[in-house]
């Protein structure tokens, strides 16, 4: 990993964390309405994967999409304004937290439908292959989403058409309040790759380097026209399923609690400094700047106007 990349990674992970912590704080004030699902705790995944991508590559995301958006280059001002439902939002305030998108950045949208991203990513992969753009499509999905039929249909299509798609499972142990160990017939999600004769790997999703390496391999494979892979990243979410969740299902002790307490940002900071990829001073600076950046985003959102009433009727059809 290059130093520049490591700096970007550290900044990006901090941006995600600060963004989510702020949204969490503001949600309790009532200024943000609706369903909000926070990504805090899972930063290493979006960051480690998107570190390999450029604007020409695509990602599909989930209901828990803020982290993917930031890692794929969406502006935090426009994101925060979107979550506030303001005119200056990335989607003019018409989408909200679950529907942030930025097609120009290859961000094909957070998605309120669990499992909705699989076919979309396959389609983006099809475009890439057909137009020979060299783009890769990454499909982020949860352990819960892996039980939707779209998982099966999507991965099978990508496999038989050898599409440049990488399926990244964010296995945070739960779908809402339902443990993955209950909802999934298979012990791991990665082992399901055998059903499609493609590679599948399970890695520590709290360790950026592990994610970075596994995703890098899968993305390279995709770019080399060798077809799709599944990369399963084991992780945990810091907050509840959505804001307001009592989280009674979370373990208070044992390995689950240890996983919960592992902070991927701290892990990265320590390792990256040790590997001399960043210095402590740089890290401190990034942390400070990131806080400021997110503060500014909140201010931007708070002071942005509501959408004009005419917007209700706009953007239905393309002309």
């Amino acid at each position: 990993m290059e130093k520049k990349k490591a700096l970007w990674i550290y900044e990006n992970m901090n941006d995600i964390r600060n963004f989510e912590d702020e949204v969490h704080r503001i949600f309790t004030t009532g200024a943000i309405p609706g369903f909000v699902h926070l990504y805090a705790g899972e930063e290493a995944i979006a960051t480690g994967v998107c570190a390999h991508l450029t604007d020409k590559d695509y990602i599909t995301s989930t209901h828990r999409g803020h982290g993917h958006c930031i890692a794929k280059g969406c502006e935090v001002d426009g994101m925060m304004a979107e979550i506030f439902g303001r005119k200056t939002g990335l989607c003019k305030g018409k989408g909200g937290s679950m529907h942030i998108a930025d097609i120009d950045r290859g961000m094909l949208g957070a998605n309120g439908m669990v499992g909705g991203g699989f076919p979309l990513a396959v389609g983006a992969g099809l475009t890439s292959k057909y137009l020979k753009t060299g783009a890769v499509a990454v499909c982020f999905f949860g352990d819960g989403a892996a039980n939707e039929g779209t998982f099966h249909e999507g991965i099978n299509l990508a496999s038989i058409w050898k599409l440049p798609v990488v399926f990244v499972c964010e296995n945070n142990g739960f779908a809402e309040a339902t443990p993955q160990s209950y909802s999934s017939g298979s012990k791991t999600i990665a082992q399901r790759s055998i059903a499609y004769d493609i590679p599948g790997e399970t890695v520590d999703g709290k360790d950026l380097f592990a994610v970075y390496e596994a995703a890098g391999k899968a993305i390279e494979r995709a770019r080399a026209e060798e077809g799709p892979s599944i990369v399963e990243c084991v992780t945990y979410r810091n907050y509840g399923h959505f804001e307001g969740d009592e989280q009674k299902y979370k373990a208070k002790t044992g390995p689950e609690k240890e996983l919960a307490d592992t902070d991927p940002i701290k892990v990265f900071r320590t390792k990256a400094i040790k590997k001399k990829l960043i210095t402590a001073k740089q890290a401190d600076e990034i942390e400070q700047l990131s806080i400021k950046k997110i503060d500014d985003a909140v201010k931007f959102a708070e002071t942005s106007p509501l959408p004009d009433e005419a917007a209700l009727y706009e953007d239905v059809f393309a002309q």
């Binding site: 309405p33 439908m113 209700l312």
Partner: protein, 342 residues
Amino acid sequence: MARQSKITMMQAITEALDMAMEKDEKVILLGEDIAGGTTVDHLNGEGAWGGVFGLTKGLVEKYGHERVIDTPISEMGYMGAAVGAAATGLRPVPELMFNDFIGFCFDTLLAQGSKMRYMFGGKATIPMTVRTNHGAGASAAAQHSGSYYGIFGSVPAIKVVVPSNAYDAKGLLLAAIEEDNIVVFSEDKTIYSLKEEVPEEYYTVEIGKAKIKREGKDLSIVTIGKMLYVALEVAERLAKEGIEVEVIDLLTVAPWDEETVLNSVKKTGRLIIIDEANPHNNTATDIASIVSDKAFDYLDGPVKCVCAPNTPVPFAANLEKLYLPNAEKVLNVADELIADLK
């Protein structure tokens, strides 16, 4: 035996589920996180959630995970399993967490469950109640705010119920679970906390019957779900001008109660239907077309529909408010109809 205080529509629904399960062992519930935390050790069999809105809270503690079944996120799988279980002797009550997920399980209702009895020459019986919810107004954005009871209602052999209040919700849900047919029971997520007096006893409210919530002789307003409250506000305001509005709460949207609606229109000669679904091919237009036909000679003005615009549901709070039918929009339409009465 009247209970001390009013209860919410949410509590009424939970109570109905409880009573239905108490009464008949064959009633089982399936859905995502309707218990929550199944197999989590430290919960000791208790539910972590009781559904995303808490409607099934307490039931797993009483009836166990055998009857309150958490499902993976596999709507087609568990909804189809409910059809299969119904065809073989159980009375499943699956929950579709939001009606917006219809696209993940529509086949099991459209092509399997609703057609089996007919295709099999009357041999299959599918006693199954699909609980779901609809409605804008909760800032839940485009994929969690739709109103699709009209789509379910377009399918032959599916009955569709949309309760507007706690009393009817309880009675209709119990009636639905007693039915030997597929009933889609669609709750409006924004009125779960409305309170009403609700008897503690087991009782049913007849499916297929509308209720006249306010009598009047000048203008009929037919409503679906929470649109009732818009109509009542309109009625109140028009009463001040001496206009008597008859407000009819449809309750069952498929098959809807032609008799009650037609009788009212024959009396008033004027009809507005409020339906928060998107405006085309919905329940409102169905009613409008049938009433315009069958009550043609009684109408003093055109039947009017007040619906959502033909757009997805926007997220921003101001736009979402504008999206929903409200008293102003209805009054605008009413003014036209009753111009000659003023």
